[in-house]
Structure formats: C-alpha cells, structure tokens
Amino acid sequence: MTKFLSCTNMTGGYGGEDIIHSCDIEVDRNQIVVIVGPNGAGKSTAMKAMLGMISLKEGSLILDGSDISKLTPQDRVAAGIAFVPQTMNIFSELTVEENLEMGAFLREDNVKETIEEIYNLFPAMKDKRNQLAGELSGGQRQQVAVSRALMTRPKVLMLDEPTAGVSPIVMKEIFERIKTIKNSGVAIVIVEQNAKQALNIADFGYVLVGGENKFSGEGQALLNNQEVRKSFLGG
C-alpha cells in the first residue's frame, strides 16, 4: 500500500556530485516521520528534494496519488505541502499576525478562523499578535514559523531542524505542539539533529548516512536498535 506522500529512489544534488542516492522517504497522514543522521548525511538535501528546491536526476514523488515531481516549489505549496526552513523562516519586519496572513496568501476564503485555531495552538502568539516577529525570542520565532506554514492548512508539513538553537524546555514544547498538529490529520516530516528526542515522538524514522537509507523503522525500534545507538545516538 502506498503512503500519502511517497518519495522513492531520489538521486541528485546541487548540480555537482550527487548528495543523495536512491533515497526513499514515505509518510502517511496522522504520522510523524523523522529523518536523522550524522552531519552531511543529506538530511536537508532529501527534504529540499521533496520540496522541489533541487532538481533530481531520478526518483518519483507521489502526493495523494498524483505525481508532483514536475511541480515548482510554489506549486507544491499550493498542492498542500508546507515547509518551515531552518533559518530565515519568519518575516522579521512584519507583525506576528501579518506573518500568519502572508502564510495564507494563496487562500481566497476567510482566514480569521484559521488564525484563531493557531492562537489556540500557540496561546503566546495571541498576546504578541501586533509585535514584530523579529523582536520575539528564539522559541517564539519558531512558533511563528510553524504557524505561518500551517496557515495554508497543509496536508504535509515539513520542518527543517525546528529545535535548532532553542532551550530543552522550548524543544519539549515544540515537539508537544507538533504532536497536536499531527493529530489534526497532517502528515509531518522532520529533519532533526536532536535525534533522541525527535525519535521519541516519531511514528517512523529514517537514518540517513552518506545520502543513503541506512536504517528505517518505528521510532522506538530505532531508539532501541544497538547499531543505531552506537553509530550516532551516543551509546
């Protein structure tokens, strides 16, 4: 049975040598998939390939039964994939509410309801709605970034290292929120450095090494796998 978003046999890079080799990543709705691996393993590259930000030599990308491999990143956004980049992921000179409105740019219907839903998910955002996003703390900026991506009411949410540079408490909170988002029926793909914590909330995990799928399995199973632990979870 094919998954909701199924990316198989992806091979490619930034124009020079291939970074990822026959890489497979699949995710279903109501599921969190985590991609972990050592530095330079091609985690972010794999995600960029799924978003169409790099051109692949090979590979098929199927979203909900239709081929998206020829679509531009913007068209993939319209097709229901939302992306939260690792850096520069907010409009720092716009207010929090304007960030949300820009997230919903493609939508013609009333977005007030979605904004309220997001304020319920991230209550801190409601108090800061008229503040410039660039003036917020690191954790709050990350919340703005995720909120902006959610404004399109995406079917697939992709996050590139959402917990980079935030404190452990904030990290825990962000992961909790991601779980809530998952339960609303969204398929979630996360690239993470904090592998242990991420695999803890993951339904399924991929370990990439050298641009290839090294291990894959349920989050807990990967955490308990001796070989995975030894190679990069630190024992």
Partner: protein, 339 residues
C-alpha cells in the same frame, strides 16, 4: 516697536525659509519614497530615478498642451493636475516596458545589486536621450491657473507689517497632494494584502516564494507605485519652479541623500529624510542679514550677508550630509538596510 520687529523677522523667515522648504521637502519626500521602494523591493539603487522624474513630467507637459489646445482647463487649478493621471499611465507603461526588456533579464540571472545599479545607469542615459529628443533640453514653465493664495503685498497691507508672506498656490497644492499620496501609500503598505505581500517580499524573498507570493506581480506593482510617486513629485516640482531635464537630473543627489539619511528601504525614513535635506539646504543657503537686522539692536547689526553657504553650493550640503550619515550612522535615522 520691539514686538513688530520680532514679528517681521518671523514673517521673513516663514516667507523665505519655512514655506519653500516645506514644499521642496514634500516634493523630495515623494521622489525619495519612489527610490526607496525600488530599493526595498527590487534591491538595487535606481540611478535612473531622477530621469524617470523628467520623463513623467515631460509626459504631463505634453498632455497639458493637448488639453490646453482642446480648451480643457481646471479653472483656478493648474491643467497639469488633470494631465497627471494620464502621464502616470504612460510613465508606468514605459517603466514596465524597460523592466521587461532590460531589468527582468538580470533578475532571472539573479545578478548582484551592483550589476542592476550599473544597468540603471544605462537606463538613465537612455531616458535622458529620450526626454531631450522629445521635448528638448530647455527650461519650460507649464503652470496655469491662479498663482497666489496669499500675496506679499496684500499680506503687508492687511497686517500693517514691513515684511510680506507669499504662499503660492503650487506650494499649497504640493503639500496637500504629497500628504494624500503619503497617507495612501502607507495605508496600502500596512493594511492591504498586496501591500503586505510587498513588504513580505522585501523582507524575506525565499519565504515569500514559499508562501505562494508571485514575484512577477510584486515587481509590476512596485514599478507602478514608483511611477505614480516619481511622476507626481516631478510635476509638483515643475509647477513650483520649472521643468528642465538637467535640473531634474541634479535632484538625484538630494534624493539619495534623503533616502540614506532617513534609512534606505524605509518609507517613513524617506519622508523624514526628504524634509531634513530640504530644510538643511534652504536654511544653510539663506542670507540671514535682514533677519538679524530686525532682531538685533542697531549697534550689533551684521555687516555681511550672514549666509553660511552660497546657493551655488546647494548640492554640497546634500553631499556633506550624505558623507556624515554614512560615517556616523550608516543605517539612517529610521534603521534601514546598510548599502
């Protein structure tokens, strides 16, 4: 009669410094807004801006002549105000044509801002040639309608003062039109979806693309807004003084000085910068002799002109301010981007 002396001095100052600086400042603010919006959204310093101003004003003059020959006028208001909307359309279309044929090529190449800046110098030369070819390099006045709102002679007689205050109708029109244009622009940028998406694109281009904002549409809207502002600024300046392509080209330096003083890329900064440059230019080149003659007792009366700089050095003031700001506070008054 001590009191009258003081009032006379103030009227003198209002007549020769405050009123002219307010209207020149408004014209400069509009032109700078246009420059700063191009910089903020399209990310390059548009050196052709002053010649776009010539082009827009030229178009207005041509439409004004057309209307005048057809017997259409605006009563006490200058006919040029009727011609302005048509001239804006022509200027915007020509802007978009140049963008399609020149700038868009470099945008697709993802050229550095410096390359686009040099390209804009090329466009500047083309525009200069086009303007001189169509209307010629001469000085032209295209003002008609009622010239004065307050005339110096009437003012003197009415208040029984020695000094008169003149307010030309163009000065009042300038301030009102500039105010309306600025308020509409700020409303557009702050409150409308299109305006917000322009700010978003200016702030973070990649994220704007990820949010589905169409860059081509933003570029078109930017050129249109820029044309509206620069044509309006040029026409107001021309009505107030006169239209001469070379004089307009010389406004490029005050425009850049104003943009940098205010904080380049920031619309509020552009307005502040416009007035700062205008007031500096006029206050520093005005001869204060008569002013001090009114205020000081006879024994202390100055013998010289009491002028900081001769009016010939008007542009040096913009330049000095530009250099000082770049050394002391390169981000400008309202924190803009550093070039």
């Amino acid at each position: 009669m001590e009191n009258f002396e003081f009032i006379n001095a103030m009227v003198l100052l209002a007549n020769f410094v405050i009123v002219p600086a307010l209207s020149y400042g408004s014209q400069l603010a509009l032109a700078t807004l246009s420059l700063t919006i191009i910089y903020g959204v399209l990310r390059f310093s548009n050196f052709a801006q002053a010649d776009w101003m010539s082009f827009g004003t030229m178009a207005t003059i041509l439409f004004t002549w057309l209307f005048q020959s057809a017997g259409i006028n605006a009563g006490i208001l200058p006919t040029a105000l009727l011609a302005l909307p048509f001239a804006i359309i022509v200027t915007a279309l020509f802007c978009l044509l140049i963008d399609r044929s020149v700038y868009s090529f470099y945008r697709k190449q993802k050229s550095q801002p410096i390359v686009l800046m040099i390209v804009s110098v090329g466009v500047m030369f083309i525009l200069q040639a086009v303007v001189r070819f169509i209307i010629g390099p001469n000085d032209r006045k295209f003002f008609d309608g009622e010239k004065y709102i307050v005339h110096a002679l009437d003012f003197k007689n009415y208040f029984g003062l020695e000094e008169g205050l003149t307010i030309k109708s163009t000065q009042l029109i300038t301030v009102i039109v500039a105010l309306v244009a600025m308020i509409s622009l700020f409303y557009f940028l702050q409150k409308t979806k299109l305006g917000k998406s322009m700010r978003a694109y200016s702030n973070n281009e990649d994220l704007a693309l990820l949010s589905g904002i169409n860059p081509e549409k933003i570029v078109i809207v930017t050129w249109i807004i820029s044309s509206i502002l620069i044509t309006t600024a040029g026409v107001l300046y021309g009505l107030d003084k006169s239209f001469k392509p070379f004089t307009y080209f010389n406004l490029l330096l005050p425009m850049f000085a104003a943009a940098i003083v205010g904080g380049i890329g920031s619309p509020i900064g552009a307005v502040i910068g416009g007035y700062v440059i205008a007031f500096s230019e006029i206050t520093l080149t005005y001869a204060y002799k008569k002013f001090f003659v009114y205020l000081l007792p006879e024994s202390l009366e100055p013998s010289g002109l009491m002028q900081v700089l001769s009016t010939d050095y008007k542009f040096a003031i913009s330049f000095i301010i530009l250099v000082i700001v770049l050394i002391v506070r390169p981000t400008g008054i309202v924190r803009g981007k550093i070039i």
